[in-house]
C-alpha cells in the first residue's frame, strides 16, 4: 500500500485534470465547426482559420501584439539582467529593492493599469504603443528577473575567479564567462516576459489608443459581441503559441548548468 494515497486523492486528482482540460478541448474542437452560431455542430471545416488569416483587424492586432511583446520583452530582460547582476552580493536594503522589483507580481493589474492611465493623462502622453511599451516593460521586469536570478545563484563563482586569475578584465570575464553561463536564464526570462506581455489584456485595454489594439483587446471586444468560432480559432492559435513558448522556456531553464 502506498501510504500517501489516502482514499479519493487519486479520484479527485483525475477529476481535477478533467476540469483543467475539458474547456481547452471544447474550445479547440469548436474552432473546427462550420456552423456560424457555434452552438450546433454541422461539419468539420477550416473556414474560421482561413477567415482570421485574411481579417485585416486581426492582422493589425497581431502585429501590434508582437511589436509590443518584443519591445517589452527586450526592455524588461535588459533591465532585469542588470538588476540581477547588481543584486548578486548582499547589501543593506536588498530585501526592499527586491520587493519593489517584484511588486508587479502581487499588485492587482486593474489598479496598476488605471493608475498608469492617470499618470499618462496627467503628463500629457497620448494613449497608444508609446504608452503601452513602458507600462508593459515595468510589469514584465519580475518575470524576466526571477529566472535570471535563479540561474545566477546556481552559477559557480570560481569560474569567474579563474577567468580573472588568468588576466581577463571585467569586461572580458563578463563577455566570455558570465554571459554564456547565464544565457539559458536570460532566454528563459525573455520568453516569460514576452509571453506575459503577449497575453496581457488589462494594461493594453486601458492604454491602447486608436490603431493600437492588441490581440487580447480584440478578443475581449469580440467576446462581448458574441460567441463565434472565429474567436475559438484565434484562441486556439494563441494557446498553441503560448504553450510552445512556455515549454521552450521550461526546457531552457533546465539546460545543463
Amino acid at each position: 500500500m502506498n501510504l500517501r494515497r489516502l482514499p479519493l486523492t487519486r479520484e479527485i486528482s483525475l477529476a481535477v485534470l478533467v476540469y483543467l482540460y475539458v474547456p481547452v478541448v471544447v474550445l479547440i474542437v469548436y474552432s473546427f465547426n462550420a456552423n456560424r452560431t457555434a452552438t450546433v455542430w454541422s461539419e468539420t471545416s477550416l473556414d474560421w482559420y482561413r477567415k482570421i488569416l485574411v481579417n485585416p483587424s486581426i492582422r493589425d492586432a497581431t502585429w501590434n501584439s508582437l511589436v509590443l511583446a518584443t519591445a517589452a520583452g527586450i526592455g524588461a530582460t535588459l533591465l532585469a539582467l542588470a538588476a540581477a547582476l547588481g543584486m548578486k552580493s548582499g547589501f543593506r536594503g536588498k530585501g526592499a529593492v527586491e520587493a519593489v522589483l517584484n511588486a508587479p507580481l502581487i499588485l492587482p493589474e486593474v489598479v496598476v493599469a488605471v493608475a498608469t492611465l492617470m499618470l499618462f493623462v496627467a503628463i500629457g502622453i497620448d494613449m497608444g504603443l508609446a504608452a503601452m511599451i513602458p507600462a508593459h516593460i515595468a510589469f514584465c521586469i519580475p518575470f524576466a528577473y526571477l529566472p535570471i536570478k535563479a540561474r545566477l545563484q546556481g552559477m559557480n563563482p570560481s569560474l569567474e575567479e579563474a577567468a580573472q586569475d588568468l588576466y581577463a578584465n571585467r569586461f572580458v570575464t563578463f563577455r566570455r564567462v558570465t554571459l554564456p553561463l547565464l544565457w539559458p536564464g536570460i532566454m528563459a526570462g525573455f520568453t516569460l516576459a514576452f509571453v506575459t506581455s503577449l497575453d496581457d489584456f488589462l494594461t493594453s485595454f486601458f492604454l491602447s489608443g486608436p490603431g493600437s489594439t492588441t490581440l487580447p483587446v480584440y478578443i475581449f471586444s469580440a467576446i462581448r459581441a458574441g460567441i463565434t468560432p472565429e474567436i475559438n480559432a484565434i484562441s486556439t492559435i494563441m494557446l498553441i503559441v503560448s504553450v510552445a513558448l512556455v515549454v521552450t522556456s521550461f526546457l531552457l531553464g533546465k539546460m545543463r548548468r
Binding site: V97, A103, P108, V114, I219, N232
Partner: protein, 295 residues
Amino acid sequence: MSATSPFRRAGLVGPALLVVLVLIGVPLGIMAWVSLLGRGATIGVDWTSAPSFANYTKLVWEEDFDGTLLFNPTYLSILWRSVWQAAATTAICVGLGLPVALWMSSLSRGARDMAVLLITIPFWTNLLVRNYAWLIILREDGLVSQTANAIWPFGPVQLLYNDAAILIGLVYSFLPFMILPIYAGFEKFDWRLLEAAYDLGANRRRALTRVIVPLAMPGIIAGSMLVFIPSLGSFVTAAILGGGKSMMMGNLIQLQFGQSRNWPFGAAISVVLLALMMLVLMGIALWKTRQEAKR
C-alpha cells in the same frame, strides 16, 4: 570576482528600480491623490477641486437632494461579493489542491515532472481564453445547459451570468497557484515519518490531521495568498462570466474609468482594494512570525 562597489551596484540595479518606481509607484501615488478629488467635466477628474473624502463616503452613503446621507448598499454589496468570491475560490482551491498535491507526490520521479507540466499548461493559456472556454460550456444553448434542463424539473436552469459561474471561472483561473506550493512542500518531505506515524498506531485520519496537514500548511498559506489576492482584484472572469450583472471590485473600477467617467471614485475603490490586499498580506506575515516563534 571582487565585491560589487556601491556605485556599480547603483548603476546596475538603478534603471530597473527607477522604471518600476516611476511607472508603478508614482501612478499609485497619483491615484491616492485623485481619490480625494472631484470628477471633471471632460477627462474624468477635476485637478483643481478641493480634496475631500467624499468618494470614500460614497461607497457607503448616498447624498439625498436635501443633503441628508442615506445608506446605499449597492457598492458595499460589490465589495462584499469580491471578498467572499475570493474567499470561496481560495477554500475550493485548498480542497482540490491538497489531494492533487498529495497524489502528485506519490507518483514516480518522471511521472511527477509530467504531472507538474500537465497542471501548468492550461494556466499558461491566455486568461481571456480560459474564461471564454467556460462561456462556451455554460452558455444557454450549450450541452451542459440542455442536459441540466432535461434533468431539472423546476423551470429553466441559468448557468451563466451569476456568482456560481464566476466562482467556476476563478477556481479555473488560479487553481495551479494552490497545487504547486503545496506540492513543493510535499516533495521535500521525508515520507518515512508518515510510515513511522502508522507504525506507532496512527489511523488515516490522525495521519492526515497530525502529519499531512501540518506539513502542507506553509504551502496552503503561500497558495492562499497567490489565489486570494488575484481573485480579489480580478476583472476578466466577472466581465465574461458575470455578464455585467454580477460585478466584482475590478469591474466597478473599470466602469468608473469607462462609461461612468468618474475617475476619483474609481481611484477610491482602487485604494480600498489595495488596503484589503494589504490587510491579507499583513495577516499572513503575522501568522508566519507566530509560527517562527513557536519553533
